[in-house]
């Protein structure tokens, strides 16, 4: 731990106000505009919350991987704190995405869990980061804990692309991909695309804000504990 206190973005008032505005506009629009896909009922509006959450949680896991690699290279304790905070938020958002998807699945496809491609691979992704926290709690605090969790994070990430090859061959997809993405292009109607992009932006900024808060608070906690201030 270095001697000086290091801050991330210190003044986040503008970011908070922006997120508040974006979220409000997005939530209102998601219920006021036309339905995203005509075939489904109003329950499909959960799409505006479910998909951005899933995307942001995967980005959070990517952030965790990047900081883990940086930790292995530089051994900066801050990178370890950042990696851990990123995967905490990723897990939180991943669980929320799974729950929202499950609720939608119950209404649209008849059961909470259907062993769909996305469901299966997401469950495995959540298991990886669940195991990451199990490992972190099983090793005594210190450099060893940081290096073990960083190495595990890198190692576990190898298996993620493999699921892209294997899982689609076994499990059928129920996700309405063709309605949203056809031949690599996002085929959404005008207002739907606007609301979706707004919601994605809102959740991304929410992640940035929470991530910044989280790693700074963990860092300060550790700093205070090491210096013995109470």
């Amino acid at each position: 731990m270095r001697t000086e206190i290091r801050y991330g973005i210190r003044d986040m008032t503008w970011l908070k106000i922006l997120i508040g505005l974006l979220m409000t506009v997005m939530i209102v629009l998601s219920f006021m505009t036309e339905k995203p896909v005509a075939d489904f009922g109003d329950e499909f509006r959960i799409f505006y919350y479910h998909v951005p959450l899933a995307i942001v949680s995967m980005l959070a896991f990517l952030v965790n991987l990047i900081f883990s690699v940086r930790y292995i290279r530089n051994r900066d304790p801050l990178d370890d704190i950042r990696a851990c905070s990123a995967s905490e938020l990723g897990l939180l958002m991943g669980v929320l995405a799974t729950i929202s998807g499950s609720i939608f699945a119950r209404i649209a496809w008849g059961s909470f869990w259907n062993w769909d491609i996305r469901e299966t691979s997401f469950a495995i992704l959540l298991a990886i980061y669940g195991a990451y926290f199990a490992l972190r709690s099983a090793v005594e605090p210190g450099q060893r804990k940081a290096i073990f969790s960083a190495v595990y994070s890198v190692l576990a990430f190898i298996s993620v692309p493999v699921f892209g090859f294997i899982v689609p061959r076994i499990y059928n997809s129920l996700h309405p991909e063709d309605t949203l993405i056809s031949s690599g292009k996002i085929a959404l109607g005008g207002t739907v695309a606007v609301v979706f992009v707004l919601s994605l932006m809102a959740f991304l900024l929410l992640f940035v804000w929470l991530f910044n808060l989280r790693w700074r608070s963990v860092y300060l906690e550790r700093f205070v504990k090491e210096r013995g201030y109470e």
């Binding site: 990886i128 195991a131 099983a138 290096i147 576990a156 190898i158 298996s159 699921f163």
Partner: protein, 266 residues
């Protein structure tokens, strides 16, 4: 003094030089030694000699007590008997047989694979190994040892399963190949995890949890290939699953051998 504590020192002194002849050194070891960058240790063996010495040492230590292999075999047998008694001769379809076989091997492997590094930590001989051999040598030594243990286990379990569960194997050659590849792959994928787990608390449970995401791709293709050999439907083509069963462990092994040094010196 506990005989296990001196295991590393006594076992590695057995000269292995005789089994690696000088000509074999010249043509096989030289290019590899450049990649592996060996630390020339006190015994004067090159890395290949040390690798063999480590594996021989592990076998010697195991044969002195035999508690690991005994517990492992009994665990596997009891699990097999539980499956056999509860199924009670009912005909199962090919996929179900494949799932049972691989879950059996996986859980038996979970009990045994962590023994390599955990034993070193418990007998406090890990520091000895660090002085004696380079991280790469230790890593591959442990990998090959766990590989051999798992192959031995599979070689006992599969015939017993065949007899007890009245298995009908349509393609015996590929079935055996898949079993061998699966056992090797499983130990390749879990070697680094066992090194991590050996220095944490709650080892058994943690090992299962940590190895799950890495083992799952291997298990999926192994189960699919086995079920094809038993006459099941071909959801993943046999060629594809064999490719994944060879390629995936190689990738994991390569990354693990790069990352092992950080774990070993932490």
């Amino acid at each position: 003094m506990n005989p296990r504590q001196t295991s590393t020192e006594t076992a590695v002194r057995s000269p292995i030089r005789s089994c690696v002849s000088s000509s074999a050194k010249a043509c096989f070891c030289l290019p590899l030694t450049r990649i592996m960058k060996p630390r020339w240790g006190m015994c004067g063996l090159n890395w290949a000699g040390k690798l063999v010495a480590l594996i021989v040492k592990d076998f010697k230590v195991e044969l002195r007590t035999r508690y690991a292999v005994n517990a492992l075999l009994m665990f596997a047998l009891v699990t097999l008997l539980t499956i056999g008694i509860t199924v009670a001769g009912m005909p199962l379809d090919a996929l179900l047989h494949a799932v049972l076989i691989w879950i059996l091997i996986y859980f038996a492997a979970l009990q045994g694979l962590s023994l390599g590094f955990i034993r070193e930590e418990e007998a406090k001989t890990a520091m000895n190994l660090r002085i004696y051999a380079s991280p790469g040598t230790v890593f591959f030594g442990k990998f090959i040892f766990s590989c051999l243990v798992l192959l031995f286990l599979t070689a006992i379990l599969l015939p017993l399963y065949y007899i007890l569960m009245r298995l009908v194997v349509i393609e015996p050659a590929i079935f055996i190949l898949v079993a061998i590849l699966g056992a090797i792959g499983m130990s390749a994928v879990t070697t680094l995890i066992s090194a991590i787990v050996s220095r944490a608390n709650m080892r058994g449970a943690l090992f299962a949890v940590l190895s799950f995401p890495l083992v799952i791709p291997l298990l999926i293709v192994a189960i699919s290939a086995t079920s094809v050999c038993l006459g099941g439907p071909e959801r993943i083509s046999l060629a594809d699953s064999l490719q994944i069963m060879i390629g995936y462990p190689v990738v994991v092994l390569a990354v693990s051998s790069l990352l092992f040094e950080y774990i070993w010196s932490a």
